[in-house]
Symmetry: C2
Subunit: 420 residues, 2 copies
């Protein structure tokens, strides 16, 4: 599929993240407008609450766009999602008879503030990247025991904390936590000294389920995808995670990009999971290409310093797709909800400069990165800005994600005197 | 404090769970009434939506009781919780001038259907009973390594799945899952063969937080308590839980009792945590008695068979209080929400007949229980009804919990043909 031209001129540049082929969904506000649903097209946002009020884009008898979340649209189901996309393409395509009406409902992105695009019902984070699991396992348990015995048989995941999900641009306060190094006599309560990022893609579940779903059914339940940074306190994690898994190490914040790239926009970029080393049980087997070819990159910029790319990788490196993860999630009968967010797990490629966390990039602090100003980084310092970016490359166009960015701010001096 | 007499005569019996001293909160419906908030008094329910509409019990300018959840009341904060309790005692006390008005708003409990008493925001389950952790650790890792190194230093917990919380009386479908025994060559997908219960108390968080809270602050954030059965698929758990903790093993269902016993009602029954084997870090130290002396019991009744008490224990056996758990939960800055539910962890006493799970009672299946009909139980069979009950014993009265009950129904024949 080539670039679909739009009457919004900026959308037609070959390297723009938001051409008509994309149409990602978000929640924005301006000095005049309360937070509401919008769709990105080039450098602009089409105000869907306005379009709905004017009868230009109508999805349901009740208004669904004049709210600060996309959950109501998700709950209408995949047929309505397809209708919405078709109508938006009609309205925004070059030569559309609706151009003059829609032009009055455009907002410049640089004038808008972005908000969380949906209410996160629950959040689950997986550990489904083969290279990441091998790297981390090698550091923690040695190369022979790198992959846990269950790893090749199911997507290992844990429940995270929905209340800690924040939109790109939110500052991330360095947490305090209980720490104990292997040579310490006793634990202590102190600011995290090994604060890290994890490059992930988040799948937004759009349809509910109430019993086990197949991989195909799971695939149809996914509304779209976001970039996701699973901020991780490695020293808190090391002391707390046995036997019940990560808890406070992952509860400070997880950042997501502000625009949900729909599954429909990513259809041309589907690709297969890697070859299986062990056959999967039938209920988890791939039934088609359910990963996506999405180039990913992370940059680090120290406070006042130069930005440096610290990793480049691709979502197709994952061993399990989000559809497989969602199918596994439902096997016990666990009810899934519109607004559930599934983190892919850290996306590391096979090579050293393709690793998706500082833990791996610095090999546990043994091989620090050197920044352009000559300073070293094993883990994040106060003032560091991390930015995740990504896009799928089409034939003369891109389907891009919004950046997922956050600055690490210093730990509170006294954590029991709270401040924002 | 002695029994406070009520004009609702049934509430004055010395062994009734719901005297005026208790006043637990729930959500009920009848053939005439949509689900709404009510308070239990003796064998009756005071319809708070009706009381609010008539101006008899008014807490806020907006109606807060004509909804099927208590979250709106929780969000009004502890001062309003105290006002509500004081007003209800006034209305329902013997000699109240409001008796004749309130009498018209009473519903007989046996005519009502109970619903989930609140919207569960997020669910966290702890592992904070010393005897339980020692028992399970001994079975899995041997007596020398029974307690993980971190266990005496912080309340270990994991995030559970809020969507799986159900109210007492809901049938519990035996789950399917991925299973692999230590001697199996490969995993298989099959119905759980080691389905278990866990006797817990759930703390309902009523006030939000947005940064670390002290143990005292945490104590003030707790709205009330329920009985909680953390249904657990031990065979699924054994294969999945390393390295990231329990996931599908705990996601089928967790049952809670229908009436929230408020913290205020439990005040006379506060008691201390046990002596510390290791001093806690200062932010987790007890600042007063924050456990409660609550006698607990579990019965098992096979389908059509006689009920048998399988364990008797007490909530005061916990090593960590819910306030300590909540304080720990917030250390990383994790935002807590009104409606969060914190499972205490399995409440086992020091003796064999005080263990809070079948895993412990049958010592991993090696010492099955014998039921009155002569059949054996290591884990739950289809048709088994489990019932948790509990009360705090006052001087001539009790503050009781509603029973928390559920029947295990057979696994689906084909989990991919869903039925309810």
């Amino acid at each position: 599929m080539p670039l679909m031209p739009s009457w919004v001129a900026s959308a037609n540049a070959a390297d723009h993240p938001f051409p008509l082929n994309n149409l990602p969904y978000g929640v924005f506000s301006t000095t005049q407008q309360e937070p509401r649903c919008g769709v990105a097209i080039g450098d602009m946002i089409l105000d869907l609450a306005a379009a709905e009020a004017a009868g230009l884009v109508v999805l349901h008898e009740d208004a669904v766009f004049d709210v600060p979340f996309w959950n109501e649209v998700m709950e209408l189901g995949p047929e309505k999602w397809a209708l919405l996309r078709a109508r938006l393409i009609e309205v925004l395509a070059q030569g559309s008879p609706d151009q003059s009406a829609a032009e009055t409902m455009l907002v410049t992105q640089s004038d808008a503030e972005m908000h969380m695009p949906f209410l996160v019902a629950e959040y689950t984070d997986f550990y489904a990247g083969r290279h990441h699991a091998t790297n981390v396992g090698t550091m923690f348990r040695g190369a022979e025991n790198a992959l846990p015995p269950n790893w090749l048989h199911m997507p290992i995941g844990y429940n995270g904390r929905a209340s800690s999900i924040v939109v790109s641009g939110t500052d991330i306060r360095r947490p305090w936590g209980q720490l104990k190094g292997p040579d310490d006599d006793a634990p202590r309560f102190a600011p995290c000294a090994r604060f890290d990022m994890e490059l992930e893609i988040g799948a937004v579940v759009g349809s509910p389920s109430d019993g086990p779903v197949s991989v195909d059914e799971a695939d149809q339940m996914i509304f779209g995808y976001v970039l996701l940074n699973d901020w991780s306190a490695r020293d808190i994690q090391a002391w707390e995670y046995q036997p019940l898994g990560p808890f406070q190490a992952k509860a400070t914040a997880t950042s997501i990009s502000a625009w949900i790239v729909t599954q429909a926009a990513l259809e041309p970029f589907r690709c297969n999971t890697p070859p299986r080393e062990q056959p999967l049980l039938s209920h988890l087997q791939d039934t088609g290409p359910m990963l996506y070819d999405i180039d990913l990159e992370v940059t680090l910029a120290p406070s006042g310093g130069q930005e440096m790319t610290i990793t480049r990788t691709n979502y197709k490196e994952m061993y399990y797709s989000s559809a497989q993860q969602l199918a596994h999630h439902s096997t016990s009968g666990c009810p899934m909800t519109a607004g559930d967010l599934l983190g892919s797990g850290t996306i590391s490629g096979p090579h050293k400069d393709q690793r998706g966390s500082l833990l791996e990039l610095s090999w546990g602090g043994k091989e620090p990165l050197t920044l352009p100003d000559g300073t070293k980084r094993s883990f994040l310092e106060d003032g560091d800005r991390l930015t995740l970016s990504g896009y799928a490359q089409g034939d003369g166009y891109r389907v891009g994600f919004a950046d997922c960015s956050g600055v690490v701010t210093p730990a509170l001096e006294n954590p029991y005197e709270r401040s924002k």
